[in-house]
Amino acid sequence: MSLGSTPLRYRISIDRERCMECERCIENCSYGVFRREGEKIMIDSRKCTACHRCLAMCPRDAIMLEEYPCDYRSHPVWTRQAREAIYNQAKTGKIILSGMGNALDYPIIFDRLVLDACQVTNPSIDPLREPMEVRTYLGKKPSRIEVKKKENGDVELVTELVPNLQAETPIMIGHMSYGAISLNAQLSMARAVAETGTFMGTGEGGLHERLYPYQNHMIVQIASGRFGVDIDYLERGSAIEIKIGQGAKPGIGGHLPGEKVCLDVSCTRMIPLGSDAISPAPHHDIYSIEDLAQLVRSLKEATEWKKPVFVKIAAVHNAAAIAAGIARSGADAIVLDGFKGGTGAAPRVFRDHVGIPIEAAVASVDAKLRGQGIRNEVSIIASGGIRESADVAKAIALGADAVYIGTAALVAMGCRVCGSCYRNLCPWGIATQQQNLVDRLDPDVASKQVANLINAWTLELAELMGAAGINSIESLRGNRDRLRGYMLDESLMSVLDVKQVGA
């Protein structure tokens, strides 16, 4: 091999003074970095993925991990990543697959937006004392309502309302399928959303029967592969989501490799054991916006108009025009998935280069729908790169009704964003179907952690709202006046429809 090996990505070292040779690192590292040879614990750093399992489990804090211990000659154009991708493709001639979200160093718009707070001229609200309304209804709202006065003076609603989802917080968990992640991971999140009164997505992997008790908090997905989709599945969900695209890989389908299709995954997806589960790029019954309207209505008709139907697209250049079409398809909510969204596996070139940031997509979709007078026809759910409660507040102020979190929920269960989900070896029991690894994730504990995260963010959101003198999430929605751009260029600020700091 004329290329030889590339420098180590991570170097693991053990402080031999501290180490008590308990072998927990050997047990815990599913990638096989550690082994025992006679008296010594040996290390093969090349196998390390920086999942931090060993560090977290070492009782003596004896393990140290160093990233990129060996430098290339530094060069602003020929980065390490660029060079290593070439070595890889020179060897294989193949498309590079990668995990987790966008890894290029794009500026993060959320971090260049700041929130407002009240001082003197209007009082802030103390959420401890005053009620804070963070409950969010997702779905169509009538443009006007008609009421009738009864004889006793009460009023009665005459307008017929269509079903909405009632979420106790605008923070929901996005779609990560059983297959991509483990049943214990799904179970933990399902319990957490049930406890916090919010919702999570099933992903395109069917609904395992152990999740049936939480079905009132599950949004079932129908994607181009139609895995696990039958009428029972559709009826179980509290809402149905048509997945058109995904922020991590806009424009392409996906496939779950046969190795991950174990017995249980096979029966939940309803495909043979060990077969590839291929989701084509488009839905082959949707080649136009009219066809989308047909599927939306077909799903409603099949479930007797009892379920809201969401449509999820990747945030792309034309998202606003596309969303306007979706809003007219009869859909109840549009999910916009920004280019920082995570995934179990996506071609690197798509993950890093295709799509637009969620901040710009939400703002432009909201503006377009308002401009056309149809914002009430659909809710907007923002996803892809929501890392903290401030991002939630900013996304809502830019026009979203609610957000989906994905990676953040996994991180709450232990994920270290090592990006090796595709290997089926996730040492945290999240992105794996290997039973010994799955067993490491205890749903009793992990569900509590995810619920804690949702509760904590919701509390912070209420505090942020209170500080801004806002006592209801409705008043934050699309409220650009509560945002200012800091070091953003003028044209981007005009897309976001926010003013400059100081203005």
Binding site: T92, V229, D276, H284, R297, A302
Partner: protein, 246 residues
């Protein structure tokens, strides 16, 4: 067999029509005859049970989508995607049908007496005892059986025409496509390969052909003995080998 209920669909929107069908099934109807159907979509959508629905006229798109059990007989042509993501039951169309017939079908049977449009049987899949079957009496347009992951798709070419589509079975990774006559290799999509129909295969598909002939009052003899080409996946992993890891 329960009672027969007749519905006049003239000028009716699909939602009240489907409500009536559901009501009839709930009331124990064994046969539901719908007259004057003209473009109403979603007939039999998500319906369970074992009733027979007779559609007189031309139903609109997504006929019997997600259906799980009933039989639907159409005396006329059908539009886009009849049998879409169907789970169980039968759809028997006496005329021709549009594109994406039996799209993602998971179980049950779709018989079309005439021709079908593009992407017939696309992404049909099987699991356990669920093995969907699509039989086309006439001919089929291009992209037949694309991404097929299971099931059986037969094109009988009863109008005497040779198979003329292209891109047959692109990305097929399960199931089989059986087409009357020889299919030139250039008509196959990436990931598909053709094989001659063996005597065993012929025995295996014979009951399906007999059932098809029975549904339309045809003599099965000639069909049973015709020449067929069998198209199957070149590999169960068409996309393995396309990727390397970061």
């Amino acid at each position: 067999m329960g009672k027969t209920v007749t519905i006049d669909a003239k000028g009716m929107h699909y939602t009240p029509l489907n409500k009536k069908i559901r009501q009839a099934v709930a009331d124990g109807a064994g046969e539901i005859i719908i007259d004057n159907v003209l473009g109403q979509r979603f007939i039999g959508n998500g319906l369970r049970g074992d009733a027979t629905i007779v559609v007189n006229g031309v139903p609109g798109g997504d006929l019997c989508m997600f259906m799980s059990g009933p039989t639907c007989i159409v005396h006329g042509n059908a539009d886009h995607a009849p049998g879409n993501t169907m789970n169980a039951g039968k759809v028997i169309i006496h005329g021709s049908a549009g594109d994406a017939v039996a799209h993602s079908m998971r179980g049950g049977t779709v018989f079309v007496r005439g021709n079908i449009g593009y992407r017939g049987g696309i992404h049909m899949k099987q699991y356990d005892d669920k093995r969907p079957i699509l039989v086309v009496g006439g001919n089929a347009q291009s992209f037949l059986g694309e991404y097929m992951a299971g099931g059986l798709l037969i094109v009988l070419g009863m109008d005497g025409s040779e198979y003329f589509g292209r891109g047959v079975g692109s990305g097929i990774h399960g199931g089989e496509i059986v087409i009357r006559g020889d299919v030139d290799g250039s008509r196959l999509g990436v990931g598909a390969k053709k094989l001659p129909l063996t005597e065993d295969d012929r025995q295996r598909i014979a009951p399906v052909i007999r059932e098809f002939a029975g549904a339309f009052d045809l003599d099965p003899a000639e069909l049973l003995n015709a020449e067929f080409t069998r198209i199957v996946p070149a590999s169960a992993r068409p996309f393995a080998g396309k990727y390397t890891w970061e």
